[in-house]
């Protein structure tokens, strides 16, 4: 049953904790996802410290006061991991990360013990099957994306877009709701300053390769509204490539 107060339900037992941060004209999602599995609940990403109380409260409302059974963190940047210490303080759960073997590993950062994940590795977590794809767009070195086989959902770390203030809860499940090129471009230029060097064709090929390898029905960015349906995901990728081209053209003009 959808609880509109705490999360937006997506297909396949994926619940989007839509939490965003107001920028000057647009909003910036920093939104974890909770996935219900037969053996427990999994949170993908931990959100920003700015939203600590809200995230903890929403998770407990969704899964109970004992909290989550597992957490998966795509990389160690603060908007993705900042609440993992609070999670560790409150709940007992298994932690899976891309950065367990680094100088900023979860134990060092106060998040407790963790299991390191490798690219393309597949694991059963709480009765769901996850693979950790090689991501074509990352800012930090130790980044993995997360693919949930059960819902066919791809969680995409830092690849995202802004949204208008009236679209905070919007799920893109209709062409009329599609994210604009400008929303992608403005996010990229603020958050991923290397975008000006990217080759749009290479990005397009990388995204197509990813779609070919993984059957994706939910595109689930931390920093953006989720997109549901393979045709809409392909449209989103086309717009993504157009946004990269626009940034490159502006930088070289």
């Amino acid at each position: 049953m959808t609880d509109e107060t705490h999360a937006v339900d997506l297909p396949g037992g994926v619940r989007w904790l839509d939490i965003c941060y107001p920028m000057e004209r647009r909003h910036h999602h920093i939104s974890p996802y909770v996935l219900e599995g037969p053996d427990g609940s999994v949170v993908v990403e931990a959100g920003s410290l700015e939203h600590k109380d809200e995230i903890v409260s929403r998770i407990e409302a969704l899964v109970g006061e004992d909290g989550i059974d597992a957490a998966i963190l795509s990389h160690y940047d603060l908007p993705h991991v900042a609440n993992a210490r609070e999670f560790h303080r409150r709940w007992e759960f298994d932690l899976y990360t891309s950065f367990s073997g680094t100088s900023a590993n979860p134990e060092t950062l106060g998040m407790g013990p963790s299991t390191g994940c490798m690219h393309d590795e597949t694991r059963e977590i709480c009765g769901r099957t996850f693979t950790f794809p090689w991501p074509p767009l990352v800012d930090a070195a130790h980044t993995m994306w997360v693919y949930d086989h059960d819902a066919k959902a791809m969680f995409t770390g830092d690849m995202g877009h802004y949204h208008d203030p009236d679209a905070c809860r919007r799920v893109v499940d209709d062409p009329a709701k599609m994210v604009s090129v400008e929303e992608i471009r403005s996010y990229n230029e603020d958050a991923l300053p290397f975008t000006k060097y990217l080759d749009p064709a290479k990005m397009g090929d990388a995204l197509a390769e990813l779609r070919e390898r993984y059957d994706v029905e939910i595109w689930a960015p931390v920093h953006g509204n989720p997109i549901v349906g393979s045709t809409l995901i392909e449209t989103y990728h086309e717009r993504y490539v157009q946004a990269v081209a626009a940034t490159r053209d502006a930088a070289t003009s």
């Binding site: 410290l49 940047d77 900023a104 800012d139 070195a141 300053p193 290479k202 490159r248």
Partner: protein, 271 residues
């Protein structure tokens, strides 16, 4: 993990290095070992912090929280009871900024200076300091720091800097390189095997993963611009060996590194 005490680079600029064993990376290299590799020694990747010690002192980058105690010990020794005046994270990732808050608590008179290039500084705890933009300078008394736009960034809130007296360029994630066990804190001119594009590739392809999908022409043009604008004598990367000799030649070598990344396979993780 090893943290080494500081080493003086030449002028009153000190490198503080945190080294990390990389067993997965070491094993991956055994199948097709590069010239600089020695299978009997572990590969290390490092995080560097740099202290510029004029009449006032500035620390560029902070190494990661795992080496907090060693960083504080090194600073105690280098500062000799004086305070730290400025803390400048090159960008808000844990290996670069992870001890910034702890430093501000230990040195309450210190000022946090962070890049003005990004939005949502509260999300990265950067709202407690002062923003700096490219072109601003800071007189440290005997040394002058110029803040530069990060030519090759990964995240938002990225800033590079140049120290004008020594003509040292501080490049954060650009031009890092792994080294071997036993080579910690050595300069490039002291390595057994001269620092090569192949060695830099091993770090660069992993650290700036976007290079795999870049258009090489604007990247190479930016390398040209960097050389023309700064003609550095010393290069101080955030994750590698300090280059004291032939700095411009090594900068030019980065063109080859970019080509190798674009034509090579993806490399194993940095584990």
């Amino acid at each position: 993990m090893y943290t080494h005490m500081a080493r003086k680079i030449g002028p009153d600029i000190y490198q503080i290095q945190q080294c990390i064993d990389k067993p997965v990376m070491t094993d991956a290299m055994r199948d097709d070992p590069p010239e600089w590799f020695d299978g009997d020694r572990l590969v290390h990747v490092c995080n560097n912090a740099y202290l510029i010690a004029g009449e006032r002192t500035l620390l560029y980058d902070t190494v990661s929280p795992g080496a907090r105690e060693q960083l504080m010990d090194a600073l105690d020794e280098l500062l000799g009871g004086d305070s730290l005046d400025y803390v400048v994270p090159s960008h808000p990732e844990a290996p670069h900024a992870g001890n910034a808050n702890a430093l501000l608590q230990r040195y309450p008179d210190a000022t946090l200076l962070s890049s003005a290039y990004g939005r949502g500084e509260e999300l990265y705890y950067l709202d407690q300091g002062r923003k700096v933009e490219a072109g601003e300078t800071l007189d440290l008394g005997g040394y002058t720091v110029e803040f530069l736009e990060a030519t090759f960034p990964d995240t938002a809130f990225h800033i590079w800097l140049k120290e004008r007296t020594s003509n040292a360029l501080f490049t954060a994630d650009w031009m890092g390189s792994p080294h071997l066990e036993g080579e910690c804190l050595l300069f490039s001119d002291e390595l057994e095997t001269p620092l090569s594009p192949e060695q830099i590739l091993e770090f660069q392809a992993r650290a700036l993963r976007w290079l795999q999908y870049c258009d090489p022409e604007p990247v190479k043009a930016a390398i040209d611009d960097l050389i023309e604008a700064h003609d550095p004598e010393i290069i101080c990367p955030g994750h590698g060996t300090v280059i004291r000799e032939d700095a411009v030649e090594h900068l030019n070598d980065m063109r080859d590194v970019v080509d190798m990344i674009l034509t090579g396979d993806r490399l194993a993780e940095l584990k």
